[in-house]
C-alpha cells in the first residue's frame, strides 16, 4: 500500500541516510543560515527520522564537523610533512585557505562552527579536538620546518604566528570584507619574514 521510501539495508548502518543528513545540514546552513539548522529541519530535509540523527551524531555540530573535515582535506590540504617548505608553498596554502573561507560554501561551515564554539563549550571542545588542533599541529610543523631551513625568520613562535595569520583571515572572512592577495602577501612578509630570495 504505502510505497517504500528508501530500501532498508537491514541492521547495518544506512550509508544513504548518513550522506542525506550530511548534505541536508550543509544545504540548510548555506541556504538559510545557522539559525534554521535545527535537527527537525535536517531530518525533514533529509527524509530521515530524528532518531536516526540522534543515534549517530551527538549534536548538529558534529554533523557539520563531519562535512568540514572531509571538505577541508579536499580543498586545502596541509603540505605533507616530508615536503620541502618554501615560502611559495606556505603562501599557496594560505591562499587556498583564504579562498576556502571567502569563496567556498564549505568555508561557511568553519565560520559557523567557530561562532558556535563561542556560544557553547561542548562545541568548542569538539571543534578543537577534531579540527583545529590536528590542523594546527600540521601547520605548526610546516612553519617550523620552514624556520629550520631558514626560509622564514619570524619574531614569533610558530603557533603565535599562525594565530596572527589565521585570526586575521577569519576576521576578514567573518566580517565579509574579503581577503585581497596583497593583504595576505603583506601579512606573510611582516609576520613570517621570508628570506629575500623568495
Amino acid at each position: 500500500m504505502t510505497p517504500p521510501r528508501r530500501p532498508h539495508p537491514g541492521n547495518r548502518r544506512d550509508e544513504n541516510a548518513r550522506l542525506d543528513v550530511l548534505h541536508a545540514a550543509d544545504d540548510l546552513l548555506v541556504e538559510h543560515g545557522f539559525k534554521a539548522l535545527t535537527i527537525e529541519a535536517i531530518a525533514r530535509r533529509a527524509g530521515v527520522a530524528k532518531q536516526t540523527i540522534y543515534r549517530w551524531w551527538p549534536s548538529k555540530v558534529d554533523i557539520l564537523l563531519d562535512t568540514l573535515i572531509e571538505d577541508s582535506e579536499k580543498r586545502f590540504p596541509v603540505p605533507l610533512p616530508d615536503a620541502n617548505v618554501t615560502a611559495a608553498v606556505v603562501r599557496d596554502y594560505l591562499r587556498a585557505f583564504s579562498r576556502f573561507l571567502v569563496d567556498d560554501l564549505a568555508g561557511k561551515v568553519l565560520l559557523a562552527l567557530m561562532a558556535e564554539a563561542q556560544h557553547d563549550p561542548a562545541t568548542a571542545a569538539s571543534l578543537r579536538e577534531r579540527y583545529l588542533d590536528p590542523r594546527r599541529a600540521q601547520e605548526r610543523d610546516m612553519l617550523s620546518r620552514g624556520v629550520e631551513t631558514g626560509e622564514f625568520t619570524p619574531r614569533l613562535d610558530a603557533d603565535s604566528a599562525m594565530d596572527v595569520i589565521a585570526g586575521t583571515l577569519l576576521y576578514r572572512a567573518s566580517t565579509g570584507s574579503g581577503i585581497p592577495d596583497t593583504l595576505l602577501d603583506t601579512l606573510i612578509e611582516d609576520v613570517l619574514k621570508p628570506a629575500p630570495n623568495m
Copy 2:
C-alpha cells in the same frame, strides 16, 4: 492587593527596569553562557515583564549591545582625536583592549556578539553599525594621525592593519589562549613598524 514592588515612574520609561534588564542579561551571559540568555530568563532574573523587554529592545542582541557600548567607553576609550598619537598611546590602547577581551567580564559580551553576528545577519548589521564601525572609524583616525606624524610606517593601510591586530586579539581571546604582552608588542612592531625612537 499586590504590594507595588517598585515605584512606577508613570508613563515615562522606568530607568530601574532598564538597568535591571541590562544587568540581568550581563549576569546570565557570564554565568550560564549565551545559550541560557533567553528573553524569559532575562525577564525572570530582572523581575521584569517580558513585554517591557520587547517594548524597548528589538532583540536580546540589542540588550547586549547597550551594555557593550557603555562598558567599552569606560574600559578602553579610544584616545581623543586631538591627542598626540605616539607609539606608547597606541600600545596602551591595544593593551586595554586586550585586557577587556581577556580579563573583563564585559569582554565576553563582545565575543558573544561577534559570534552571534556570524549566525544572524541582523545581529551582524546592528553590531557593525552601533559598535564596530564607530570604533573602527576612531581607531583608523588614530592610526592615520600616527602615520602622518611619522610615528608608524606600516605597509598596510590603517584599516587592514587594524584588522590584523583586532583579528589576532579576538582570535586569541575567543580560543581562550590569552594575550601575552610580548605577543601584542611584537604584533605592533611587525605590523605598525613604529619609529625606532619609541
Copy 3:
C-alpha cells in the same frame, strides 16, 4: 501644535466619555462578539484612556449592564403596576420581549450577559441584582394581578410560570431558532391558561 483631542469638562465626570464608552462596548459586542470585548478594545474604540473606564465601571460587564438597563426600559417596559392586566397586555409584553431578544441588537447584550453570568459569579450577582430581579419583581406583580382578577389560572406560581416562559424564549433566542408568534401564543395558553373570553 497638537490638536486638543477632546474638550475636558474639568474635574467633573465627562459625559461624552461615558457615552463613548457605552457605545463602543455596544458596537464591539455586535460587530465582533463578546470575545473581542476587551477593555483595551473599548478604550481604543472610544478614544478613551483605560483608567477612565476602570474609574467608573468595576468591569466590562457593568458597562453592558448600563446599556442593557437603559435599552430594556425603552424597548419593552413592564406595564405599570396600576395598569389593568389583561391577557392582551401580557401577550403584548412578551411579544415585545421576544422581539427584543430576536431582532434588537440590544437584545444580544442580554444574551451575552446571561452567558457570562454562567462563567463568572460576580457577573451573575450583578446581573441578578441590577436587572433580572427588579424586572422579575415587576413581572411577577403583573402576573399576580392577572391571576387575582381571574384573567389567568396557571397551575404554577407566578415565578415558576415566568421561568417557563422566559427560559423558553431565551433558549430559542440563544440557539438562533427565532420565536414565532404561534409558539409564544401556545405557550401563554398552556402555561398561563387565560380565561376563554380573551
Copy 4:
C-alpha cells in the same frame, strides 16, 4: 535525567494522557470555574505538555465536549427507539436530565458550554453538531412516538415542546433555582398533555 513519569506507548496516542486531560479539565471547571479553565492550567494539572493538548483537541471546548458526551450517555440515556414511550418513561428521562443539570458535577459542563456557545460561534457549532442536535433528534423521536400512540396530545410540535421543557430546565439550573419535581410534573402536564390514564 528526568525519570519517565508514565510509560510511553510510542507513536500511538497515549490513553493515559487523554484521560488525564479530560479529568483535569473537568476538575478545574468544577473547582475554579470556566474562567480558570485555561490550556496552561489543564496541562499543568494533567502533568501534560501543552502541545499534547493542541495535538488532539482544537480548543478547550472540545475537551469539555468529549467529557460531556461520555457522561451524558451514562447519566441520562435517551430511551431506545424501540422502547414503548409511556408518560412515565418520558417523565423519568426528564427527571434524570434535571438531576444531571442540578446535582451532577458533569452537568456544569453542559451549562458552561451553552454559555460559551453564546460567546463563540465555533463553540456554538461544535456543541450543536456533536451534542445538541444528536440528542434532540433522539428526543424528538421519543416524543413523536408518544404522540403517535396517543400517550401525549401536545399543542406544539415535538421540537418546540422540547424547547419549552429544555429551555425551562436549563434556565432554572443556570440561575441556581433548582428544579422541584412538581415544577417538572406540571410542565409535562401543561405542555405535553399526557393521556389521563397515566
